[in-house]
């Protein structure tokens, strides 16, 4: 029985089905990521949990009590908005104090708790600044402190890091993760950034066109995607249309072992770029030509043209000279790197 439970939740705007028959359970203290491309219904789902949108059908339960008809103001849920939604006419301190004021917390206790929250967010000394005088990262931390100071039962994060630059985003990710662990607060994060969801979350729910297509720990969804959509959305996948003959797979004259017994005929397989080995032309493998290469620091990404279509291959940077663009290569892989798409 989950701490937060969405039971057959649907939301339609006129003829548009934003969310369809969504069932989701989040355990107490869990960090769940709702992941999907824009327009997949993930933000609508979050708005319904927060109480800003009412579901057309279905129910939402939190800690054993139904939440569906409770107004947002009485749900005691903390939320960080994509735009941060800091009140521009209030200082950082006043912003953080707002939720306590609404709860009629006495003035001196309020002051203590605001100071503690700002301290925890490493914002002490900035309490009297207006949001416009704070950097993006500082604004983000004020928004987080404002959401947490009310000691919410649930924390909702709507693309909280998407407005930060890459370096800051990485450090905020680590900070967010550590904070969530320390407080043990049940958290739902909505994002379109698969790397962010995989780095932060205990489990991720991948959404497509208003439906949840897979719920699993990030590594499981990455290694064993439920379908082509998840395989493409989480990281990158090469598609391989292969011929099965005598228990082996064949592509353009390259025969390789399969991890499953497949009946003879055609099959559609997928393989991650980091599982593809790039070998000299003479070796046994799928023949190809390096179309382009990109240096990623820790690795090289090769785009290889083959008879089976373009294949991406990621090779760890060991300091050895990379393969030249235009060079003929052979691609090979192990049987356990292959995934089947579809039935």
């Amino acid at each position: 029985m989950g701490f937060l439970r969405l039971d057959g939740v649907s939301k339609s705007y006129g003829a548009v089905q934003a969310v369809q028959d969504l069932c989701l359970e989040v355990a107490q203290g869990e960090f769940l990521g709702v992941l999907g491309p824009s327009g997949c219904g993930k933000t609508t789902t979050l708005q319904m949990i927060a109480g800003f949108e009412a579901p057309s059908r279905g129910g939402i339960w939190l800690d054993g009590a139904e939440l569906t008809r409770v107004p947002a103001a009485r749900r005691n849920i903390g939320m960080v908005f994509q735009s941060y939604a800091l009140f521009p006419h209030m200082t950082a301190g006043e912003n953080v104090a707002f939720g306590l004021e609404m709860r009629r917390v006495p003035r001196d206790e309020r002051g203590r708790r605001v100071a503690a929250a700002l301290d925890q967010a490493r914002l002490s000394g900035l309490a009297d600044r207006f949001p416009r005088a704070l950097s993006g990262g500082q604004q983000q931390r004020v928004a987080l402190a404002r959401a947490l100071v009310i000691e919410p039962r649930l924390l909702l994060l709507d693309e909280p890091l998407s407005n930060l630059d890459a370096k800051l985003r990485e450090s905020m990710q680590a900070e967010l993760r550590a904070l969530q662990r320390r407080l043990g607060i049940t958290t739902v994060l909505v994002t379109h950034d698969q790397a962010e969801a995989m780095a932060l979350c205990d489990r991720i729910a991948v959404m497509q066109a208003g439906r949840v297509v897979q719920v699993a720990p990030p590594w499981e969804a990455y290694e064993a995607p439920s379908g082509a959509f998840v395989a493409d959305f989480l990281g990158r996948s090469n598609r391989l249309a292969v011929r099965v003959e005598g228990g082996r797979g064949w592509v353009d004259g390259y025969g390789f072992d399969l991890p499953w017994a497949l009946p003879p005929g055609e099959a559609l397989l997928a393989i991650r770029p980091e599982r593809v080995r790039v070998l000299p032309d003479a070796a046994d493998g799928l023949r190809g030509r390096v179309g382009s290469r990109a240096f990623l620091g820790h690795s090289w990404l090769y785009e290889v043209e083959t008879a089976a279509g373009p294949m991406g291959a990621v090779v760890q940077n060991t300091g050895a000279p990379p393969v030249a663009e235009g060079a003929a290569v052979a691609l090979a892989w192990d049987a356990d790197s292959l995934r089947r798409l579809g039935p």
């Binding site: 927060a50 800003f52 103001a73 939604a85 800091l86 009140f87 006419h89 939720g99 609404m102 207006f130």
Partner: protein, 283 residues
């Protein structure tokens, strides 16, 4: 290559022609004396201003103008600002209909609109007939040709302007701000008062100045609904120009109204507008 300043040329020229020139001529005219048989006298004098500033009737009209304008502005604020917020929160289809309804009064000619109020407010008018039928003691009431009637008629046409001014600010409101406040536990009234209203201040303050100035310089509505005896400054100036034919005195009345309104607006900007906008990040 045209210098940017030159591009403002046509506008500056137009303003000089249609605003500065007539105003200048009016100010010059107000500095002449007047004789009923000879018209404006050639010599320069400040007699008109001296007369007006000691004239009880002018003082009364000026006080009435400010009382009426302040009343109209206050009512427009109290009604128009929440009205804009309520309409803003409606579903898009309803929003268009309601906005059209609010703008309705602006689409009707001032004469038709005002005579409509005369029909309604007269001693034998619809409102009094209804009050009589209800058996209210003291009915029929005298409603026409009162300051209340002037305020009512002006509010009718000024309200759309206030709603429009606030509407412009609402368009720039981050929709997640009220949601954030709601999520932190604020009820609808608190959300409006503590979070939405402060963001609307540029529109509210602009609308206030606009409504006040237009009310103070309104002519047709107070002339019709105030009748002959309840004079405001504009109807007084009109009277001097077209009935008494004392143009210099009329010009002086108009000049004093202009100064009074400009002074009020300047004071307002200093005392209310600047502090409010500074809180929102204006330099």
């Amino acid at each position: 290559m045209i210098r940017p300043a030159l591009l403002a040329g046509p506008a500056v020229l137009t303003y000089a022609l249609v605003l500065a020139l007539p105003l200048g001529a009016l100010l010059l005219l107000s500095l002449h004396g007047y004789d009923p048989t000879r018209g404006a006298l050639p010599g320069w004098t400040v007699e008109n201003y001296a007369d007006l500033l000691t004239d009880g009737l002018f003082g009364e009209a000026l006080a009435r103008t400010f009382r009426v304008s302040a009343g109209v502005t206050l009512i427009c604020l109290v009604v128009g600002v929440p009205e804009a917020w309520v309409i803003h929160r409606m579903r898009p289809a309803w929003r268009g209909v309601m906005l059209l309804l609010v703008l309705g009064p602006l689409l009707v000619s001032v004469v038709v609109r005002t005579f409509g109020w005369m029909v309604l407010l007269g001693t034998g008018g619809l409102v009094n007939q209804a009050l009589l039928a209800l058996g209210l003691p003291g009915a029929p009431y005298r409603m026409l040709f009162t300051e209340g009637a002037i305020v009512l008629g002006l509010v009718h046409v000024m309200l759309p302007l206030m709603v429009l001014a606030v509407w412009a600010s609402l368009g720039r409101l981050d929709p997640s701000l009220p949601r954030a406040a709601e999520g932190l536990g604020a009820g609808p009234l608190t959300v409006f008062r503590r979070v939405v209203l402060p963001q609307l201040m540029p529109g509210v303050l602009g609308g206030t100045v606009m409504v006040f100035c237009l009310s103070a310089s309104a002519f047709a509505t107070p002339a019709i609904l105030g009748g002959k005896r309840l004079k405001v400054v504009t109807t007084m100036a009109y009277n001097e120009f077209l009935n008494t034919l004392n143009w210099p005195l009329g010009a002086a009345i108009a000049a004093l109204l202009l100064v009074a309104v400009l002074g009020t607006v300047a004071l307002w900007a200093r005392l209310a507008e600047r502090p409010a906008l500074r809180r929102l990040g204006a330099p």
